[in-house]
């Protein structure tokens, strides 16, 4: 098996286990919807305010919902003592990282799609003309989040308070990503699209390349014993 089919096997395994229990996806989804509900009653936004605060709201929801899923990614392996088995399998450890990262990415994208639809419906905001850009920004932002989140989840699962430790480690590191994702989303929320969209998209691409590379290089040390 080459590197990518190894990663694909891990991805497939994670998708199968997730769809048997649906724990992570359900909790992420409900949490995301609750954030939107809270936001509405906290701010009661009108049309202009949605343009202004919507991007931030969306990304805060994505990130907090994503963190719930991220915590599950390795916790499950740990509870069932299956991480040892994964490590003994004749595959490269970087492939474990890549597979897990892609699984996290897939779950998050699924949840984000639902949250986006609910956002558009609840706030009566027309996403359809912006859909292409929105999908692209969401994909880039979530990819960066999953690359950093997966390796940090693998680190924090070893601590005594892993649920608390993950956000403490993760949020400062992804701050640039949040700035990029929110700024580019804000650029497409106005009619006509604001300036800076191309710039922030390029920034997100660079962030993804840097952190994906560093994480792939370092992941072996995280699993080593």
């Amino acid at each position: 098996m080459n590197f990518f089919s190894q990663a694909a096997a891990i991805l497939w395994k994670d998708i199968l286990t997730e769809f048997r229990s649906k724990d992570a996806i359900t909790s992420m989804l409900i949490f995301g919807l609750l954030v939107i509900l809270m936001f509405y009653f906290a701010f009661e936004p009108d049309r202009l305010e949605i343009e202004k605060f919507g991007p931030g709201l969306l990304w805060v929801t994505f990130i907090f919902a994503g963190m719930l899923g991220m915590n599950r990614a390795f916790a499950g392996e740990r509870e069932n003592d299956s991480l040892q088995g994964l490590k003994l399998a004749p595959i490269s450890w970087a492939a474990i990282y890549l597979g897990k990262m892609l699984a996290n990415l897939a779950f998050m994208l699924l949840v984000e799609a639902v949250i986006l639809i609910c956002f558009a419906v609840f706030f009566n905001f027309d996403l359809v003309p912006r859909l292409g850009w929105m999908l692209m920004i969401t994909l880039l932002g979530t990819l960066g989040f999953a690359s950093v989140g997966t390796i940090l989840a693998a680190i924090s699962m070893n601590t005594r308070m892993s649920d608390v430790m993950l956000p403490i480690l993760l949020l400062p590191v992804i701050l640039p990503l949040v700035i990029g994702a929110v700024s580019s989303t804000a650029a497409i929320f106005t009619d006509p699209p604001g300036e800076g969209l191309a710039f922030w998209l390029k920034f997100l691409v660079v962030y993804n390349i840097v952190f994906l590379t560093v994480a792939l290089l370092l992941f072996d040390f995280v699993l080593e014993e």
């Binding site: 590191v173 800076g196 040390f221």
Partner: protein, 230 residues
């Protein structure tokens, strides 16, 4: 030990010289007044907090490559002492900002980066606390340290670019307006003094850690001996 005493003496002398230069030799700034003298302490602390993280990360990388425990101790000590300087940098900056800008805090790229850097330091120190096995602690904290250090320049640049799309906060005459020659002297002395002091504290912290480890090994040996004696 001899060398360390000499180093301590050197640090002390440079610190005295820096204090003299800051408070007596350098002229008082016209618009800001005496408050400006915080600048020498503030910029030096900030310089150390950036230096420390890269200094620490070189040890972390070397640790991951070789697996020598001593290198991990050095990295951890560098992070720990760096955290103190990072806190000092932020606090001294706020004390300076209040009379000069009229506010304690603004989301300027430099301030934001310092704040996020501080959070990364805290994350690193907490992670070390919460990991129990020493080998695991060494490896995982090194990985987090490297990720954090890679992020530092990105955080700074992203904040700068983000700022360009927002109105600039009003700043009453930044230090970009240039320094008097005497001020430069005081500034460089302060930088040197802080760097020496940082290295000195770091060395002491490393020694302390090594002593702790020696004591732990000795304690274990005593326990084994006692068991054998029974």
């Amino acid at each position: 030990m001899k060398l360390q005493t000499l180093f301590a003496l050197l640090t002390f002398v440079v610190m005295l010289a820096a204090l003299y230069a800051i408070f007596i030799y350098a002229p008082t700034e016209l618009t800001m007044g005496v408050v400006q003298r915080i600048f020498y302490f503030h910029v030096s602390s900030d310089w150390i907090s950036f230096l420390a993280i890269f200094f620490a990360v070189t040890y972390s990388i070397r640790f991951l490559m070789t697996g020598e425990r001593e290198l991990d101790t050095k990295a951890a000590a560098a992070f720990e002492v760096g955290f103190i300087f990072c806190t000092l940098g932020i606090v001294s900056g706020m004390i300076w900002a209040k009379p000069v800008w009229g506010i304690w805090w603004t989301w300027d790229p430099r301030l934001t980066s310092m704040f996020v850097l501080w959070l990364i330091y805290i994350g690193y120190l907490m992670l070390r606390r919460l990991l129990e096995s020493p080998e695991q602690r060494a490896r995982l904290s090194a990985v987090f340290g490297i990720l954090g250090a890679v992020d530092v320049p990105i955080i700074y640049m992203s904040n700068r670019w983000w700022r360009t799309q927002h109105p600039q906060p009003v700043m009453g005459g930044g230090e970009s307006s240039g320094l008097e020659p005497q001020m430069w002297v005081a500034f460089f002395l302060a930088l040197t003094a802080f760097t020496l002091f940082y290295l000195y504290l770091w060395k002491i912290r490393c020694n302390l850690e090594q002593t702790t480890e020696t004591v732990e090994t000795l304690q274990r040996q005593i326990e084994i001996r006692l068991k054998e004696a029974r």
